[in-house]
Subunit: 411 residues, 2 copies
């Protein structure tokens, strides 16, 4: 198969929206072992769309087109494909009825312009759209398979998964399967990992690709084989080798995240957590509570942005704040112990630092962060010097804390 | 000018990374009144890159290429452009010295492979890269201007802004200027706004484009004129009309955000804020403290995820929790009053609700959220029924609260 994706819409070329569909289609295809060779975006112009389709029809045999199926005059995808294939469009009464039902469900009559969405390319077939008014279309011509999908993501994605990918598997049943497994690293520099795995990056099957992420890094292992099982057999020994090479730093796989693995570890021990945050201002708590079911182990926290809150709510001593300052090992310790005691949890954690861009001094520069981990044995405090923007420093501080907590829970 | 952008890199076609550069280049061009007609992404394959460049050279006269300038064998952009233009590459000793200096600054010798990055297309010129090892290149052939930029965003973006855009303004000085102004709406449905402005969406200059966003919406007004001033004169009456049409819902423009306008309003009044969060779990505080200087008005907050924290830290009565439950008007009121009192601030706000996916009942379904706004006069509580995923409900709840607070501060 030689596939490609074409996004239709002047708003993409104007930079008003990101062409995220290109990635969505690539990922859905790659999971099935299908590859795209081109992504293209083109504006709402009949000649340019048609020219592009002619080129695409010469170099590819599967063409996924997103956008341009709306009811307005700017929506030209149907017309362009029909023109390039030398076919006509015809109105399908059942499709009109379907669109009328969609509007009736919202208590409105169907505007006349929407009839256009019931025009099908001769020889094509409609793809149902339960989430909107624009049905998709599938048409084949001279061995090239065209899939026309609507632009809104909540309409496009289900059609891609439920229809396009399934149809491709029927059309091209002998394709091999591509399986990926992504290992998540934290607490170790990206360049250090890259240098230690440089030989693996040259492998052909499975392949190993480093992916940078904020405050952590990912290694994606991808294997191609006849079945998912044999692809997994290619991945397993490589994963084992990497886990032996980096025993402390691989905290999870695939959809795991630092908050999810910390949550799993807390739940497994029947332990509970509370958090006191200064420079991260609620970000750590927000990341922890983004996981469904976090209420089982996360009792709550205190955002002690002003020193008065550090004293009144967390019980950090005035003396500590005066002598050492709010960004200090002592303050981090008292915050972690204070929030643990106030919330009555197994663990209490704290973050205090200078996220910038203002507020730094020679002695305490922007990026200086102390994190504290308190339990019944006392409190460990770590000093970090982080780089980056305010946003990066906040995120990296929260991730470093979660990684330290995960390490404490697992080793 | 007929411009286009080509992104080089198999990782884009595999869906491993989003092709965000396409949008970045489009936006930088649009600000100067230059338009792109195509975005294309192609993998690290010399033939495919060269074929694409041949097509691009026929249809466009400005081609911006990002990626493929690294030191590895997969980095083929230089070679592909040279091949298509029928030119050779030659080593530039000054560029080697520059790359050596970059490595020396990091205490390392230059690896031999990086010499490749000092290879310049005959007749071309290097574009300096202070942020990395890969210089960019500019070369012109038969009226087509090629700009080769490195892939890493922190290297690409400054080169685009400092070099490519400036050079285009020199090459094509008669272009008109495009100016945009984006109005931010909250508290009103996207479809309501769209219906009320439907006539404006057909305007040609300025144009009006609705942009959906999570929990709010944007209207972007764009005008083209000979100078920035005359473009602004086209935008001003339209903005005035929209502000009269939606006096309560337009909270900001351009880079404004709900947390930033709330912060500005609090600062202007010398007022302070604290927040008690249940279902948002720190997200509201995190959004407020993402703004530099938030410590001037935000004293802190309490994430009262577990009921014990609502009682012990915020003083919500056991009776309220037993009779009405944690997700209730009464609990929201006591949380807002409690955090205001605990932190000693002008305003205290609260959010309590059911973010899902679990935890909903027939009486209190997922998406039910109460928000409270307390000041010295007492506490207003609003009941919301939000739709969407856990992530969307949390974000929409936080934005609704900020919008209510902004309304209170400004009307």
């Amino acid at each position: 198969m030689r596939g490609e994706h074409i996004a239709i819409g002047s708003e993409i070329l104007l930079g008003q929206i990101l062409n995220a569909h290109a990635r969505t289609v690539s990922l859905a295809f790659a999971e099935q072992g299908f590859f795209l060779y081109y992504h293209t975006a083109v504006g709402d112009n009949l000649d340019r769309i048609a020219n592009l389709l002619r080129q695409a029809g010469k170099r590819s045999n599967v063409i996924v087109i997103t956008g341009g199926l709306g009811p307005t005059e700017d929506d030209l995808t149907r017309e362009a494909v029909a023109q390039v294939l030398g076919r006509e469009l015809h109105l399908v009464p059942d499709a009109v009825a379907e669109i009328e039902r969609f509007f009736a469900g919202r208590g409105r009559p169907m505007p006349e312009v929407n009839r256009k969405q019931a025009m099908l390319i001769d020889g094509g077939e409609f793809l149902p759209n339960p989430n909107g008014t624009a049905p998709g279309q599938y048409v084949e011509s001279e061995g090239v398979h065209y899939f026309l999908l609507p632009g809104p993501p909540l309409e496009m994605k289900p059609m891609l998964d439920n229809y396009v990918v399934l149809r491709l598997k029927q059309l091209l049943p002998n394709s091999s399967v591509l399986v990926s497994r992504t290992l998540h690293f934290c607490g170790i520099g990206e360049s250090t990992v890259n240098e230690e795995v440089i030989d693996l990056l040259a492998l052909q099957n499975p392949t190993v690709a480093p992916l940078a992420s904020e405050g952590e890094m990912l290694l994606r292992i991808t294997a191609s084989a006849a079945t998912a099982e044999s692809a997994q057999e290619l991945i397993a020994p490589l994963e084992k080798q990497l886990r032996e090479q980096f025993p402390k730093y691989i905290y999870g796989v695939d959809s795991d995240s630092l908050p999810s693995v910390v949550g799993d570890a807390l739940r497994a021990r029947g332990a509970t957590l509370s958090a006191a945050e200064s420079c991260t201002g609620g970000l750590l708590s927000s990341m922890i509570t983004a996981i469904p079911g976090a209420s089982q182990y996360f009792f709550g926290g205190v955002v002690s942005y002003d020193n008065s809150v550090k004293s009144s709510v967390l019980g950090v001593s005035e003396e500590t704040l005066k002598e050492h300052g709010a960004v200090s090992e002592e303050a981090a310790r008292e915050m972690a112990l204070g929030v643990r005691s106030a919330c009555g949890t197994t663990f209490g954690v704290s973050i205090t630092g200078i996220a910038g861009p203002g507020g730094g001094t020679a002695e305490k520069p922007v990026g200086l962060v102390y994190i504290g981990l308190a339990d019944s044995d006392g409190c460990d405090v770590y000093r970090l010097q982080l780089r980056g923007s305010r946003e990066q420093i906040r995120l990296r501080a929260a991730k470093q804390l979660l990684w330290r907590l995960w390490t404490k829970l697992n080793h």
